[in-house]
Symmetry: C2
Subunit: 112 residues, 2 copies
DNA sequence: GAATCAATTTGATAGTTATCGAAATGTCGA
DNA sequence: TCGACATTTCGATAACTATCAAATTGATTC
């Protein structure tokens, strides 16, 4: 991918920069990655990698890759606890994105 | 790309299928495509291709490609009027997607 | 320390796609 | 009909990325 780092920042759903928004949408654009995100969300929360592994039809290497993508995009946090890693959603990110999308969709456009 | 057709359907923000959601997110994931969508939204509405052309640093061929992607994903309508084509947002689509994203982000997850 | 298990990194590969120039199609006015 | 203009299609190319097997790193237990 690319992207420098995750601005480990304030939790208020502020505004997303263009670059960050693009990174997030790209991260969401892969079906396996989206499914993983759904699993994390559904899990109450901290989801172990092994559980993630069981939920997706991909190899450990590929899962690791996707986790990194989601983390880099700032969509999840990864708590590394010894041998195990736990995944959680970063709250507010999806909501911020959603707000931006909805804003585009509000306007006096009579389709067609 | 892929995708069969645009279910020219009811305008209520119903539910998106997985496949459709993926198609939409993929369409949004390209910066030029997103910028085009923003232009359309900002334009009051029907945006001529030439205006789009002027707003983006890409060739006509590439613009045509992106328009088709957005249309195939069901994000825009294209009204073809003789020599000119006019682009409008399909209302409700972005909102439906946003609703799905927000739903993921609501839950008892104390990040970290 | 050795064995074991979890996760990551390292190649390598196959599939996808954004991009353009050039050619084609389609529309309109002279 | 011809030329000018808008848009699309074609063909080719470069960049990106999802994927895996194999090797590696790191932590835990014996």
């Amino acid at each position: 991918m690319s992207v420098v780092a995750i601005p480990e920042k304030s939790l208020q759903p502020t505004r997303l920069t263009r670059a960050r928004r693009t990174a997030i949408i790209k991260a969401l654009a892969d079906p396996h990655r989206f499914a993983l995100l759904e699993q994390i969300a559904k899990a109450g929360c901290p989801l172990g990698c092994s559980q993630a592994r069981a939920a997706l039809p991909i190899s450990a290497a590929t899962l690791s890759h996707h986790i990194k993508e989601l983390e880099t995009a700032g969509l999840i946090n990864v708590r590394r606890e010894g041998k195990f890693h736990y995944l959680t959603l970063r709250p507010g990110v999806l909501t911020a994105l959603a707000a931006g999308l909805t804003a585009l969709d509000t306007g006096p456009c009579a389709a067609h």
